[in-house]
């Protein structure tokens, strides 16, 4: 386990910024009440086997006691680095993203299943959508009862969405909670 270097940090923050915008500082400076100390610590990012984890400092201190090969995971996984050096967010980051998301889309009950199978979100399935989404923004997908279902990338801005026909794609799928069942082995 090692902390991220400059380049990796910028990549991670860029990806996160697409989804959470200014709330990034909330993520980075979140006080953590874990651990036996009274004063709250901070959260930090660690890299282990090409996966990025979001961990509280107290936990990191204790995790240093475990041998590198034996350490499987710690804290919350945010995403992975591919062999080509690119960073992708995975579904385990959904909790963190959903809390701080700027751009949200709520799905109608009829189209929830379709999204959970890995399909893109069509305009006819959109119940509500946040104003001021521009193209290629990160979007978190919720059900109507505010349960986060996954996230993706906006295919069009909100303005264009208004004029689209009902079969147009609004959000391109990136990750959803159905993956816990479908791709259990890969996670």
């Amino acid at each position: 386990m090692r902390p991220l270097d400059e380049q990796e940090t910028t990549q991670v923050f860029e990806k996160l910024h697409k989804f959470v915008g200014n709330n990034l500082k909330n993520i980075v400076e979140n006080p953590s009440h874990e651990g036996p100390d009274n004063s709250p610590g901070r959260y930090c990012f660690r890299l282990q086997k090409n996966r990025v984890y979001y961990v509280s400092e107290s936990l990191v201190k204790r995790a240093t006691n475990i041998k590198r090969d034996n350490l499987v995971s710690l804290g919350t996984q945010l995403g992975k680095f591919t062999k080509g050096g690119k960073f992708h967010l995975t579904v385990q980051s959904l909790g963190l993203l959903a809390e701080n998301a700027k751009h949200k889309v709520w799905l109608k009950p009829t189209s929830e299943m379709s999204f959970l199978y890995g399909n893109n979100v069509l305009k006819g399935g959109v119940g509500r959508i946040t104003e001021s989404i521009s193209e290629h923004d990160g979007v978190v997908v919720y059900s109507m009862s505010d349960v986060p279902l996954g996230f993706g990338v906006a295919a069009k801005s909100t303005q264009d969405c208004r004029k689209m026909d009902p079969n147009g794609i609004v959000v391109l799928h990136q990750a959803d909670i159905g993956e816990y069942l479908r791709m259990e082995d890969d996670l």
């Binding site: 709330n23 963190l96 959109v126 946040t130 104003e131 505010d146 303005q159 208004r162 004029k163």
Partner: protein, 833 residues
């Protein structure tokens, strides 16, 4: 002296015949008679004062005189009277101030003779002033009278003037002053008065003549115009007004088009010639009149009169020629500082918009475009009334839909896809329908065009085009105002009152709210951006130093949010957009609201539109609003607290998950979401962590001094225990706010029921009945003691809090000084060591 022998008519009783006239010289007066008369002056003095003229008047019969001579007879009489007055002036002495006049048998006022030379000149002047004032007084009252009675008034004026002249004559029976100049001056004034009276008569005559038979007497218009060029202000005003009355009734219901050269050369019948002559005279006189009005409007003295005339003309005959000039003046004055002229102009423009049938819509287009230009020229520093008039505009309901259908039918062959579009078509179309028409054969076009010109019915496409023009001008103005409101302070220039430098913003927002369903989708995003920036404008954006937009008041920002929601709601068929930013703004505005300074009704409306009507909410956000509303109701007045509590109840009933706020579970447990602790100062409702808080404020509120608030608070806190309470309260926050702000008065009355006699008790009882809303379910028996105790509790609590704070401050100070002292001691020890 003319004396006519009365002609004998059989049925009429004639006055008796006079004795044959004997010339004075032939009369032989005996000495005895003379002596007798001179001795007994008291008895015989009356003879010298006999008014032989009046006696003779009984004899000459007016009815015998023919029509034309009648006029001349009257005029002669007037002239003679005037001359006589002058001669008589030398005779009698009068001082109307000291003595009451006596009315003799023949109707003449006879003043007691007291010679006082110096005072007379004053009195004369005073009398002159009085007559002038009376003149002005009657004029002023004439000014205020409605135009419809003008004609009758003109006739009355004649009689009044006659009476007036008699009074003037009586008053002018003033003692002759030795100073010749004063006499001359008086004579001059007299003749000026005379002349004025004459002119007024002339005006009245001409006016009535024109109204009875306009075609015959059309030339008298010129004469009336001449009179209006007089020097005396009253005459000019009267002339203008009589001309106004005449024109209003004479002007035909069609636009006069002067005959072209060709037509003039043709041979036409007499009737047509007559008509042409009549029309051309009318038109030229009208032109001259309007030019005079416009010229005179620039002088302050005549401004109101001119504006009034112009407005009346525009309202009455908007279809006639020269409408543009009238419109230009009206619109120029639509923002003037003079209240009356501004109100007149606004009323005129509104009536123009409402009565479109009179002018077929073109005047609306022109007026709206002119107002838009005015706003541009003045850089949006106009009186709000000028934009308020836009609210009386009406558009066809299906303005957008028709265009869609039309365009569809034409583009069907080209773009089959467009058939499936459900959304509104673009209104400010790039390709006009007209260009499509050019593709049709030309002959067909010509024929249809001629047919249209001949028919008076308003063509549908024409109407739509005009309405589109109006709409685009209106929105241009609104967007200009919005842009102006967004300009940063340094740029908004030399206007000293920067804080209130957006007078047009409120009516602009109202207008946008009203016409929002007609806004084009393209503009929607820009509009939303603007509104967002405006709503945010109160807070400094961190980082940028001077780039802050102009500060708007809390009420204005609330209105921005309300308008944004209305716009969004009207376009629901396109997409259900969630306005995150505006919710954040509302969240912050609730805290910034101050009861005295800001408008509570707008807040109530905002709460209703944004929170109560909305169907779904993010749980975290809803909880954040609930918590903040509870905090708000703690420190605001009872009316706002009531509105807030009603909204709170609504939100709690709708969002079941928020009910854990009512449980006494401080950490929030598992439902609290990721944010473990409540951040009361968070600006973003989503990050406030309100799900982890508890609504302890309800407990405090149930001890509120106002019975309604306390009951509602206790009801809410019991909400979770009463399961499945689907009954939603019918009250909106606005109603609650209104009720309580009215109830304030009735509340204080109810406080002393003991001091009431029978009547007052009844009144109290009826008040109680009226003010209780059916939903509030109050069973309050207010008596003085309970209220007193509650109020005293409330204030003692406040007092305690203040005390507490003070003591803590003291404590902090003393601990600080103690610490310092200890440190100092330590340092000393170290040094000594």
């Amino acid at each position: 002296m003319g004396k006519k022998m009365g002609k004998k008519r059989q049925k009429i009783v004639l006055p008796p015949e006079l004795p044959p006239e004997i010339p004075d010289e032939a009369v032989e007066v005996s000495d005895e008679d003379v002596q007798f008369v001179s001795e007994n002056q008291e008895y015989t003095g009356f003879m010298s004062n006999l008014d032989t003229k009046t006696i003779n008047k009984q004899v000459t019969r007016v009815a015998d005189v023919k029509e034309d001579e009648l006029e001349s007879l009257y005029e002669r009489r007037l002239k003679k009277k005037a001359l006589d007055k002058e001669t008589e002036k030398q005779g009698l002495e009068v001082d109307p101030v000291d003595a009451l006049p006596v009315k003799t048998l023949d109707g003449k006022l006879h003043y007691r003779t007291v010679p006082k030379a110096t005072q007379k000149s004053e009195n004369e002047d005073k009398d002159e002033d009085n007559t002038n004032n009376k003149d002005a007084g009657t004029d002023a009252s004439v000014v205020k009278r409605t135009k419809a009675e003008k004609r009758a008034q003109l006739k009355k004026m004649r009689k009044e003037a006659k009476k007036h002249s008699k009074e003037v004559a009586a008053v002018e029976d003033v003692e002759q002053i030795p100073h010749a100049e004063v006499l001359d001056e008086v004579r001059k004034d007299m003749t000026a008065e005379e002349a004025n009276e004459k002119k007024k008569f002339r005006l009245a005559e001409l006016g009535t003549a024109l109204l009875t038979d306009p075609e015959l007497n059309i030339k008298s218009l010129k004469e009336m115009l001449e009179i209006s060029k007089d020097g005396d202000r009253d005459i000019v005003v009267l002339a203008l007004k009589s001309l106004l009355a005449v024109f209003r009734d004479i002007i035909p219901g069609y636009r006069i088009r002067l005959p072209t050269e060709k037509e003039q050369e043709m041979k036409v019948s007499k009737a047509v010639k007559k008509m042409r002559f009549y029309e051309s005279t009318l038109l030229s006189a009208y032109k001259a009149y309007i030019q005079k009005l416009i010229a005179i409007e620039k002088q302050d003295v005549y401004k109101r009169v001119a504006v009034r005339c112009i407005c009346t003309l525009l309202e009455a005959v908007p279809h006639f020629n020269l409408r543009e000039n009238l419109l230009a003046v009206v619109i120029r004055n639509i923002s003037s500082e003079d209240d009356i002229s501004r109100k007149l102009c606004c009323a005129t423009v509104k009536s123009l918009f409402i009565n479109e049938g009179k002018h077929g819509g073109e005047a609306t287009v022109e007026a709206v475009q002119m107002i838009a230009d005015l706003a541009k020229a003045h850089d949006c520093q106009l009186h709000p009334d000028s934009i308020e008039v836009f609210m009386s505009l009406t558009f066809d309901e299906d303005l957008g839909k028709h265009e869609a259908q039309d365009a569809n039918s034409k583009f069907k062959s080209k773009n089959a896809k467009r058939k499936n579009l459900k959304e509104q078509k673009v209104l400010a179309a790039n390709e006009r329908k007209r260009t499509r028409k050019e593709m049709m054969s030309k002959t067909l076009e010509e024929v249809t065009a001629e047919l249209k010109a001949a028919s008076l019915a308003t063509d549908v496409t024409e109407r739509r085009r005009m309405q589109t023009d109006v709409l685009s001008a209106v929105f241009e103005t609104y967007f200009r105002v919005l842009k102006h409101a967004l300009k940063p302070r340094s740029e908004s220039g030399s206007s000293p009152e920067l804080a209130g430098s957006h007078p047009l913003l409120t009516p602009c927002l109202n207008g946008i709210g009203k016409f929002c369903q007609l806004i084009d989708l393209d503009f929607m995003s820009d509009l939303m951006n603007f509104l967002r920036k405006l709503a945010r404008s109160g807070i400094d954006s961190d980082g940028s130093s001077k780039d802050v937009s102009a500060c708007l008041t809390v009420s204005e920002r609330l209105q921005c949010c309300i308008v944004a929601f209305r716009v969004m709601r009207n376009n629901l068929n396109a997409l259900n957009v969630d306005l995150q930013d505006f919710f954040t703004q509302l969240y912050n505005l609730i805290i910034e609201y101050r009861p005295g300074r800001d408008n509570g009704e707008i807040l109530a409306e905002a709460l209703k539109i944004m929170l109560c009507d909305d169907r779904q909410h993010d749980m975290q956000r809803a909880a954040a609003f609930i918590k903040r509303l509870a905090t708000f109701s703690l420190y605001s007045g009872s009316a706002e607290a009531m509105a807030a509590l009603v909204t709170l109840k609504h939100l709690l009933q709708k969002n079941v998950k928020c009910r854990n706020l009512l449980e006494n579970d401080a950490g929030g447990g598992s439902v609290s979401g990721a944010i473990a602790k409540y951040q009361p100062y968070a600006t973003d409702p989503n990050l406030s962590g309100a799900l982890a808080s508890v609504l302890w404020e309800l407990n405090l509120l149930s001890k509120h001094y106002h019975p309604a608030v306390s009951t509602l608070a206790s009801n809410i806190s019991m909400l979770s225990t009463s399961d499945n309470q689907i009954h939603l309260s019918n009250k909106s926050p606005q109603q609650a706010f209104k009720e309580l702000s009215l109830e304030q008065e009735s509340f204080s009355v109810r406080v002393d029921p003991k001091n009431s006699n029978a009547k007052r008790e009844k009144w109290n009882a009826s008040l109680k009945h009226n003010s209780m809303g059916p939903d509030l379910d109050l069973t309050v028996q207010v008596d003085e003691n309970a209220v007193k105790s509650k109020l005293s509790e409330h204030y003692s609590l406040l007092h305690d809090i203040a005390e507490n704070e003070r003591l803590r401050r003291e404590l902090a100070e003393t601990t600080l000084s103690l610490n310092l002292h200890e440190q100092y001691k330590k340092q000393r020890k170290r040094r000594t060591k």
